[in-house]
Symmetry: D3
Subunit: 253 residues, 6 copies
């Protein structure tokens, strides 16, 4: 058991995020793009807006938001084979792509989007823990920019409001008996329990995914994790708002 | 909002499981096998014990437990294409297979298993909601039988105890503002929030996976869901114990 | 050479089938479904009726009947890898799927079926020899039920008669110089010659597939095999008729 | 019903083969190679001899013979997509490859072959019916040459006799009520019943594969087909012997 | 360094092609077909003409010419696995297919072709170096025949002229310090630099692909290679013209 | 025809490179990494050093250098599907990966590398023409860093010199009749001829790949393209040297 006064391996307080940076319009081509950094974790999130929807949605007057997550082969400490070369997408990649898509759809009114599709590509350029939570947090910002861009280009009406709220995500875990926020890779490897929490800016839950790595966990631990997660989401929401309030670098079209 | 006295569409109380049946040794070939039924959901769980471990584990003196989940094409109301014909495993299948594997490994001491592998195959013969939770609950029973069989065949020492506890799973959801247990397909389709909870027989959490389908949910709802899940897991644990206490149909070797 | 009076390893006469069971409406969802058992071989056959035909048949006023065969990984004594995980369907699976489809189409008048498709899924839950012949025999019964169901739902006219006859299949082989009927796995492994025969209820041939496993066979042996097969098909046809004459368990829709 | 005096569309008698040509050593590289022609059907059969066997056979002192069949995309009247581009091998290709392999193994003593592998590649350069039977008939000749070559190179002992006989194949069918031999494509398209027969040079059966295309067939028709097939196999056996007796074109190494 | 008077290993002069043969209408089915031989390298080139174009070209009034290259498994000295069995097309195969397609499109006026597609299949039956250059040279001749056939069948207007010139290809390399033409396999294996040159009959470049195998090369060497290539292309162009001037074997339709 | 004084669309002189930036150690994990920018084209090149070689090279005392190229889905103006989702690597990706690998091996002494492997991953984060040439130019710098790192870690002897020179690449093309250097995407789309040239720092050729897009080109044009390419390579070589002379950002291990 660790005393709350004991600092984490990188000096953070238990409920403190890593340095978070969001560079908007990192890409010249995409309708929205953000290079999001949670400490050394770097994810390039691009939002691609296209008119029309997949065949199974046609004619229903609703839009579609989906996501794809992938890691560069040397994003991690040892090189992984590319999934394109293996000829199939791994279970973990599938699972995270689906999670990101669900998380963003939780704050989208697909009717207000019209028959348009937005694809969020989240490519992990460097991984140091928390890549899926960084991806969701950054993808939300890219999504906001892509919707604004679609309004400017009159692809959706200026009065439409496809966004019903904001969304962010963070990981939490039990380390030395203490709930800590935003685990980096060394912490993630040693945490007894690992939980990813996706919440709206209003503090409601979108996804809760907790996994006992090794020892099963008690209800009290779960409660502690949810508390620290809520604090982290509030901080991330503020950072998203701050980033969106700034003038982004101009896209070069 | 529904009064707690209002019956569910099939007459169950909010915290009542469907009829649960576990037919052990349904298969003649497998070291352990259970046809598990949660109402009309039927999953055939087989446990295959093989000596040796995957290459990446060799020489470490530890065993391996993994799982594969798949649905027959007409397990559902409309036929789905086979993943073998599509040439790749879908994201949902991958995700559930990984969940089942993690859940069972949570109660396994891989050292005590020795360098042996147990594969749990969970094939959904008929689906009516809760296939993954039925699979975990049934697979645990098949796993117990496979370990007992390995002891009889002296593939692991009689004194070894690879199992550190029992594990079961159940789905819970918010319907009409009320937390209900063990959703069938019609309930699953209408639930605002859907959560799968995997717990040990001692009441600790192994996995918590909650998803807002539509509206994000509040902490109070989450708490209510966890309460009803704990009650369901306790009931399932008792049923697993009862099933394991019975003499199973003889395997025909 | 074996005297005809010598019993087989399980006590059967040379021209005697194993215990045959056909449980209709085993599934709640499928338009027709049969759990067929040839001794310990168990195949779940479901018939899925859908309106419309594949693109290459559109506008010709004819229907389509096709089949897919697959084995669960632990249907056999040692576990096999799933074809969905391998990313491709094996030669044997393909070959048997095609055989089942051809066999059923031999008793179908596709004009009378209208532009509708019936897919027969034959999933081997447990294998003990003769899985393809059990599949054909059971799939025919599921097909009859699916057609009756389509008439009730007025998807095909009540007066239409898509079925031109019945079809069943059985394996035969030469063991110890004697032609024997309906080989189980131990017999199949030792038979010098193995033949699968598909015939109509009127005693005509639909498919004859004989293979010398080891020693090539003479015309006289071929003749003896065909004789015993004809006897077996007559018995199976009677069993199909009996099963279809019974009131099946109600489907729960 | 056709009188036996009525000529076939190309003037052949009912039991007459097409012009058969076998050009040995068509390839410079392969240990055995034959360009076999059954009329306008042209199949290039190469036999590749390699030391060693697949892993699952190692250490048992026995060899392995296998075959792969494939059609060039424009072997037929309309172009087909390449299976390599589709990323998977079709059911028909698999089925025929397996048939060719089994047929050749029926005349191979794998013990006498030692731990060596021979792969028969049968590539259809032009198709006009009977490609699988031409492939078997030609592959046998290529196999004989590859074994002779292995003896010369002392890869198998000069005294070893891996071949236990010869093998050939021919198609037969019922056209206008008459059994005819060696169907070309126009005949194959109209035949009510189609049968491929593989026999040894001694007149024993290796494979019999008969399929009712449309109308099921009676035992008398089956008997007539087997009679005409036996005549055709005898003719093909004589042609194989004649070809093997000739001095083949020198391989250019 | 080699004196220009020193003969090559097969006696050819440095700027001398191997024996080149082009057998037109080698296939009965294809609209154009050529068995092209560069010494022992043999490539079967078929041109398949079909009405219509791929979806992405529809309605633009232009045609499409594309190519696919593949090697038979035993075209080479040691057998290679089939790409269809491996389930994917290798990088080399892709690269050469694309090169052949681009080379032929360089002499095609797609407007004059109308909305029609010509696929050139180049299957290497035997390989002894220079398979891609033989394929391009032969495919051009097959293309000419397919266009002539389409005019006869009035699929393109008699006055249309889809061909804007002729195209041929040859390999060149530096061996012992001397630029040599049309390398066979032994030369190709030892050449320090290897270049494939595709040119029109008018002596203009379509593709130049030079690769240093081992030692990088100087501008002077590049110049010498281009000179000898130009000479070879002129010779091949004359041979193409001679072949096209002859009456081809009748196609048997 | 354009006068040499006419500026290009972005104001560059005909033989002027775009702004070139190379950020070394962009990644914390890789042994060498460079974010290379040719104007708006951005490629992340990482060099992964691993002990050991692929199986086919084992025991020969030589190392291996290989490369993989891939584009992020939204690197371009319109989003492309991921090759991992399509289940196969496209022809263009394969071709460029092979080109990069060959180019780097041209300056590697694999004996001096010992039995070690270096994989160069070149991921295009943003594309604006010339991605493959930027990749080669940047990958060389990453390769130098990875080799230096291996010496520091004593994985190769300090005295070994695996590098035999430097390598860089640039695209050239004919636009308005004038040879221009380092085409961006708008230029690349309009160029009549496009050539990629890979050269060593000593001015020798490693690869020359010229393609007529539309009109075939004359020898004089080819000569002009090679001249301007040589100038560009000299400039890039100087920039590589300058980058390598600087102190790179520390890797955070």
């Amino acid at each position: 058991m660790t005393n709350d006064a004991t600092p984490r391996h990188d000096g953070r307080a238990p409920d403190q995020l890593r340095d978070i940076r969001m560079t908007r319009n990192w890409s010249d081509h995409a309708e929205g793009s953000v290079l999001v950094e949670f400490g050394r974790t770097r994810v390039l999130c691009t939002a691609s807006f296209t008119e029309g929807v997949p065949r199974w949605l046609k004619g229903q007057g609703t839009g579609w938001v989906t996501a794809e997550y992938e890691m560069l082969p040397r994003a991690t400490n040892t090189r992984s084979d590319r999934e394109s070369r293996k000829g199939r997408v791994g279970g973990r990649t599938h699972e995270i792509s689906r999670l990101i898509g669900r998380s963003l759809r939780a704050v989208i009114d697909t009717k207000a989007l019209g028959e348009n599709t937005i694809v969020l590509d989240c490519d992990v350029l460097q991984a140091d823990g928390g890549t899926r939570t960084a991806a969701i947090t950054g993808a939300y910002v890219a999504l906001v920019d892509a919707i604004a861009d679609a309004k400017v280009r009159k692809l959706i009406p200026a009065k439409a409001e496809p966004l019903t709220g904001s969304v962010a995500a963070v990981s939490v875990g039990i380390i030395d008996g203490r709930a800590v926020l935003d685990l980096d890779y060394p912490e993630d490897s040693t945490a007894g329990t690992d939980m990813n929490v996706v919440m709206t800016g209003r503090g409601e839950f979108v996804e809760v995914q907790g996994t006992a790595e090794g020892t099963p966990f008690a209800r009290a631990e779960l409660d502690a994790l949810l508390d620290v997660a809520a604090k982290g989401i509030a901080d991330l929401t503020a950072l998203q708002e701050k980033s969106l309030a700034e003038q982004a670098r101009d896209r070069v079209l």
